[in-house]
Subunit: 246 residues, 2 copies
Amino acid sequence: MTQSSSPTAAMLVIGDEILSGRTRDANMHYLAGELVKHGLPLFEVRVVSDDRAAIIAAVQALSEQYTHVFTSGGIGPTHDDITAECIAAAFGASIDVRADARALLQAHYDAMGTEMNAARLRMARIPDGAALIANPISAAPGFSLGNVHVMAGVPAIFQAMLADILPRLQGGDPVLSQSVTVEKAEGDIAAGLGALAESYGDLSFGSYPTYSDGRYRVTVVVRGTDGARIDAAMAELAQQLDLAAS
Amino acid sequence: MTQSSSPTAAMLVIGDEILSGRTRDANMHYLAGELVKHGLPLFEVRVVSDDRAAIIAAVQALSEQYTHVFTSGGIGPTHDDITAECIAAAFGASIDVRADARALLQAHYDAMGTEMNAARLRMARIPDGAALIANPISAAPGFSLGNVHVMAGVPAIFQAMLADILPRLQGGDPVLSQSVTVEKAEGDIAAGLGALAESYGDLSFGSYPTYSDGRYRVTVVVRGTDGARIDAAMAELAQQLDLAAS
């Protein structure tokens, strides 16, 4: 996979809970799948701790290098939720409680009979110039500032926010893929696969071995934006792998 | 979590299969858990595609910033397995088939009655100056070059390689943690938690909300290297949260 002029994406996961091994990240896999369908392939993911300098450095590096950056985590009401102020700092924007975000929260808490307090009001802090991302579950909005889209870490909320923002972003051609899994050793198919990858330079060929039940299997995945070319490559691959035509 | 003079770790995951959404990464969560026990806390993870420039840049950035870097993926026999040569390039080391690695592979294939071919021989390419990491499953070794430890992406092999290398690395004090989960809204406990985090500056306090079955729950995790301090903080936290003493 190489970068071209078509749009690219990166993800920044913010959270000690992933790095400490306490929680298994769920948002990366979900985002990757949605972005492929939208024609916004994911080129890089970084996971950093709840550390101001680390978050700012990662946001700046990724937002310069990729068309869009999606973040997850660190936008709740507690002391360790520092994402919003770090994004603001990364762009040199000021940040304060914003009336539109506050109104969304107030309406939600009024409906639930929950008190708005100072901690909850932190979630209405939005950088100047940012556009809100809707949160239909718990109201506290995400936001887009420049090319960075800031979302919650709770998977249900992350997914709902992505459903709000993704249709608004221009995607490229969707990346298509086909795959075949054979019970062969990777070392036995490597030479032919390498030759195929050279003759189809517009496609990418991935080879993914697995090992279970004492057996080696390998899945070959062919990716690209031209379905007919992928069909042609898969036909040659089937011949190489001695697969009978169906 | 802030960096101190105690040893730190980062991880580099190499693989289009994660970024394309095809495969869910399994090694990050495993590594994070093992490193915490060994006193080598994980501060950053990067996932990059099978792209030479991206791999080299990430290896150089992480190896400069952290005490140890652990990589997974890209050391098999196929054309897209380019990790070893990228690590060599990142350190300016030369790389070629090495006799010790070749002997390990030859013995393994002889025992299995499998032919050694040019593709498999690629897995004996080891940078000059690197120390081998044992692979008790499929023989093809990982290696350590400088502070970078290069391992396979297949989870069973990754775990076996980690078991070989980790005991040889100097860890710091293990990071201890205790947690409590309450059925409260994060916004109701935020103020007290923030005050507690200020008065126990040597510990880290994480607050992780979940949302399921229409209920909000929050788990508070207290981490540090001094068990008695964590006990004291947890006692204060229990009072704050109105938890009855057991």
